[in-house]
Symmetry: C2
């Protein structure tokens, strides 16, 4: 009996689970590393779900922002009170999983503390500062955040306006917000929760600017939480999503801090104002790379949750008939529904497996850095920039497709998907705006292309640029050899990535030849540049997905191969114009690719529910009436709605206005 | 001096407005029909903005659902008290504009009353019912809604589960909700506001079912608003958007209503239970068509608002440098930003003008119907189904691009765009789920294709199917003749639409030849069917946009032609693979199309702000800090945020938990 089947389940779901051709448990084990890790996930999940301290009743989406923040703060206190009994606190994976289960994709007061404040402190604090503050921070005796972005500047950090002027006399820095647009804006937990922040400001010494540096600033009293003198701090107001978090603003009015509160592990300002620059210019490079590498996994996780919800719901929702004399069908049997949904399941797997590969690359790179070898870093930096951009947009739009596949109920917060969408789509903007990220990757592609011209060796992620390409595709020539077929598809990705890189480079060169400066020519070529960078990322996802599938256990390899095949064919058809453009493929080959999508949809159909079960998301985490494991949706939907804040009373106070209006209208006659 | 320029404006916006090559006022007049109509819009806008009864302070997005509903109910009462002084109440356009200005894209208690309840009552009530209820409804002495969709059935109306059993003895209908999934779900204003509803239920007489019919049911007491006996009614809970509206549920427990409360203009149940069917089977066809025709305009309006916000903001936002020694540039000067934004401005114009053409077609069709000629109806039905689907999705995703073009601040509710997105994307699901709508259009395409085979004449919207096509495109051959160039592009749309219709038809035929039933074969061809239907709609939008531009006044025709050119080239490039597939175009032609996009972006650049000014949306309607006419964004953003509900006090009550947690952590040491 499949693990996810229980008595009392919706029979349509049970039928689906029993019909699967593989064991979802094996796939979960592959996805999360081992059977034991899956067990541990479930254990944490069970502990949280059964602990009344972490109750989500009423659902967070029913209560206003202030109450939500209160609920999450209360949970935070209770969680911290027993966290050492629950998990190994120093294990990042366990901590992240526990936080996710407790706070369910919503903000909480110490989110930025762990995500940014602690890592930056650990990475950049000099010994004296670390001695004084690190254990307090680790022990959460203070709550910190990281205040970099300003109202007027996000992407272009060099132009941040906040100033830290060194006062030699008093050995202090004076932090100041000179204009309205210099107000720090957006940092999470800055508005109401944090009492300390690392603040990025332009360092000025003796009238000279040394660029942005980080300073350790107390924002609020540890006793009564009131803002310190010179500090104006508050919440920036409601957002499209993530409203359980207090993204904040911060203005500093000539706030003085001791010289030792600058983060001086790599740079130094001596008491007399002497400035010592960092040895390497890109000291904080690694951190950014890590955050972006990890974003591939988080975006894929949002999508895997949305795909779980939409697939389970599509299996229990019956509407309409395919054949007039048979009963209403499960909507998952409509071709349009399969075409909308199954590629998103495949995409979730592709990005999850690709994300785990890129996190491995990151670890390898860090090991290299520790040996003093920095040569892997530029490659990984370009790759993660492009991947961050492609995965955030493609996963978010895929989440939205999953939502729409649930029809009207997908629009209700009961589906849980609107929340996933607003989190995922935010990823297009934070940690580097996508268009800017793609340009960073494109610059790297240009440099690498120059290397091929000079016959220099290419780094890992751009090796394809140096490959001898066949002029014609062999797509469709290996109908009976799946391995060859997949390799042919991957070669067509490489062909497109190479061609677009060359096209962008030519556009740049042509504009320069016509007399434009390099910078202006670059701006005139950025759309083509970004197209090249996107395919560079798509190629990496495709290749790494294929590698992971090839190394998967025999029991799950067939179903993963079906997913891989769907993914590659779907992506290739989406890029058809590039294949047709220079005759790499002909129309007949494209028709074959399209037909293969339909073949793959049919192969995946019996395994669709088991494939999403294998993501192994708990009901609590999914937070979705439509995506419940047991499939008993309609009664649950009714119970959920009854608890809506508007149903506490039968008649709302607003009726007074309505009553008077109706009476006045009657009186008019 | 351009109309939209005022002293104290952000100088970047003033510079843009002065640099425009055309007069935005002329374009507004063209868009809204006349200079007088634009003036009237502004007048209504001014009246509402200056009336403290309609104040939106604090902003609706700051307050919870119950308060929002209360605020809107209060405004409703005040508005109704003086509406006859403000507008001609019977003029639908004026009423809609007034409602929009007063309630600003949010729900209000009498939204469904006007949108559905009244039209259905007017269209389907028999004389006796009309006499009793119509003036009460017109006069808003009662508040009605339209309850059709159920929890378990939206699209497939034939399977609605609510039952109306005729009780001959008592000459009553007994309305009943037999299962949980039969609960009415989603109707707007049903939850808390309406006291009457038209309820759709399966008519049963003497054990025989006659299919879904409409019944007039009292839900709540006119005095104290309590639900009537047997009525369970409430709000369905929070949604992705539109949370100012009380979408509701309704369960009926053997509720008895007199026989005369069935809507019997076209059908009849005699006291003895004799059933008289309607003369025409598709009595209510016209209403659906009208709602969908109107959706083209509303979707385009949402997009025009988002484009206004993003374009103005892109003109005042300065970030980064294109040339290192020059100041930071307006972000609108980045090629990626233009590529992201300007096609959306063009799309907004395309859909607005196309929407007005389809509304004209609707009027013509109704005039025909009144003369007893129903031959235009099937064409318009197919066209509006496809247009509804294409415009809702393309405008909503375009809104989202506008939002992301605003960077981080686009994610704040202060931008106003999240609200536009959640309204627009809902249009993909309501009034007929998009996939189903496309299939309806595709069925019509199949029928029309059969007609061409039989040499029968084709209706207006599908005439292209009978056109003799050139086998090779002449795209790019008319570089010096804009009119010919545009016609060549439109022909390529026709080529694609025809080809995809034929491909879908062949797929259907092939599956049937292989032995599948027609229905099963249809399901196996729906993805191809929907592709054909989408291009059918895109062709209509392109053609009607071109027609409207051709008939525009000389003063605005050049700038509109630039927009049209951008729109057509952009759309064609998006459909490149279809043009390359069978050699209709070659790679060189495609490169030319791509280059033309960049040419058009450059032409539009100086007119971008004036083009969005011409949409003439008031600041109140835009409800956007980023999109303010005056461009003074940063100070306004700060003031907006300060008013956030979380900033009423410096220290939230949630700090109690945080304080205790920090103290407990300190004590652990």
């Amino acid at each position: 009996m499949p693990h996810h089947v229980k008595s009392g389940d919706n029979p349509d779901l049970t039928k689906e689970r029993k019909a699967a051709t593989f064991n979802a448990e094996d796939l979960s084990a592959f996805l999360y590393g081992s059977k034991e890790k899956v067990e541990r996930r479930r254990e944490i999940s069970r502990i949280v779900a059964s602990d009344p301290d972490f109750s989500n009743t009423p659902p967070l989406e029913f209560i206003d922002r202030e109450k939500r923040i209160d609920v999450q703060a209360k949970k935070t206190r209770r969680l911290l009170g027993k966290i050492h009994e629950l998990i190994d606190f120093t294990n990042d994976d366990e901590r992240e999983l526990l936080f996710t289960e407790v706070f369910v994709s919503d903000g909480f007061p110490i989110f930025l503390h762990f995500a940014m404040f602690l890592p930056v402190l650990q990475g950049q604090a000099h010994e004296e500062m670390a001695d004084e503050w690190l254990s307090k921070a680790m022990n959460i005796e203070i709550i910190g955040t990281y205040a970099q972005t300003e109202m007027g500047h996000g992407t272009n950090l060099k132009e941040l306006e906040t100033i830290a002027t060194y006062d030699k006399q008093n050995e202090e820095f004076v932090l100041h917000t000179p204009t309205r647009s210099a107000t720090k804006w957006w940092p999470g937990n800055l508005g109401k929760m944090a009492n300390y922040a690392i603040v990025t400001a332009q360092l000025h010494i003796d009238g000279k600017s040394y660029g942005p540096h980080n300073f350790f600033v107390q924002l609020r009293s540890e006793n009564d939480h009131r803002p310190m003198a010179g500090i104006t701090v508050g919440d920036i107001g409601p957002k499209m999503g993530a409203n359980g978090i207090d993204n904040g603003f911060l203005a500093l009015d000539r706030v003085r801090i001791p010289r030792t509160r600058m983060l001086m592990k790599y740079v130094k300002v001596a008491p007399d104002g002497t400035y010592t620059p960092p040895l390497h210019s890109k000291v904080n490079y690694g951190g950014m790379v890590h955050v972006r590498a990890h974003m591939v996994t988080s975006m894929a996780t949002y999508l895997s949750m949305a795909a779980t919800i939409a697939t389970r719901y599509s299996a229990i929702r019956r509407q309409g008939r395919i054949e007039p004399n048979l009963p209403e069908v499960q909507v998952i049997d409509y071709q349009t529904q399969q075409y909308r949904l199954f590629p998103q399941i495949a995409r979730a797997y592709a990005c999850l497996l690709s994300g785990s590969e890129v996190e491995d690359l990151y670890k390898k790179t860090v090991q290299g850095l520790n040996r003093g070898e920095a040569d892997l870093l530029p490659d990984l930096h370009a790759l993660t920039s492009a991947l961050k951009s492609v995965c955030s947009f493609s996963c978010a739009t895929a989440v939205e497709q999953c939502r729409m596949a649930c029809g009207g109920h997908g629009y209700s917060m009961a589906s849980g998907i609107p929340n996933l969408y607003t989190f995922a789509i935010a990823g297009c903007t934070y940690e580097g705006e996508n268009m800017v990220m793609l340009q960073q990757a494109a610059r790297y592609l240009m440099k690498s292309l120059d290397k091929t011209a000079r016959g220099e060796p290419l780094s890992y992620s751009v090796e394809f640029l140096g490959k001898k390409m066949e002029t014609r595709s062999n797509v469709g020539l290996h109908k009976n050899n799946q391995k060859e077929e997949i390799e042919a598809l991957l070669c067509s990705f490489e062909h497109i990535a190479t061609r677009l890189t060359v096209v962008a480079s030519q556009k740049l060169q042509n504009r320069m030849k016509m007399g434009e400066s390099k910078e202006r020519a670059w701006n005139g070529a950025t759309v083509e540049m970004n197209k090249a960078a996107r395919v560079y990322a798509r190629l990496f996802i495709a290749r790494s997905f294929a590698r992971r599938v090839a190394s998967s256990p025999a029991s799950v390899r067939p179903v993963l191969t079906d997913l891989l095949s769907l993914y590659l064919h779907y992506e290739c058809v989406d890029m058809t114009h590039h294949l047709l453009h220079d005759g790499y493929c002909n129309g007949e080959q494209i028709e074959y690719l399209k037909q293969r999508i339909y073949d793959d949809l049919a192969k995946i159909r019996p395994n669709a529910v088991a494939l999403v079960d294998a993501f192994d998301h708990s009901d609590r985490l999914l937070n979705s009436v439509l995506g419940r494991r047991d499939g008993n949706v309609y009664e649950a939907l009714f119970q959920w709605a009854k608890a809506s804040e508007l149903n506490y009373t039968d008649v709302l106070p607003a009726f007074d206005h309505i009553k008077q209006m109706m009476e006045e209208n009657r009186a008019k006659i």
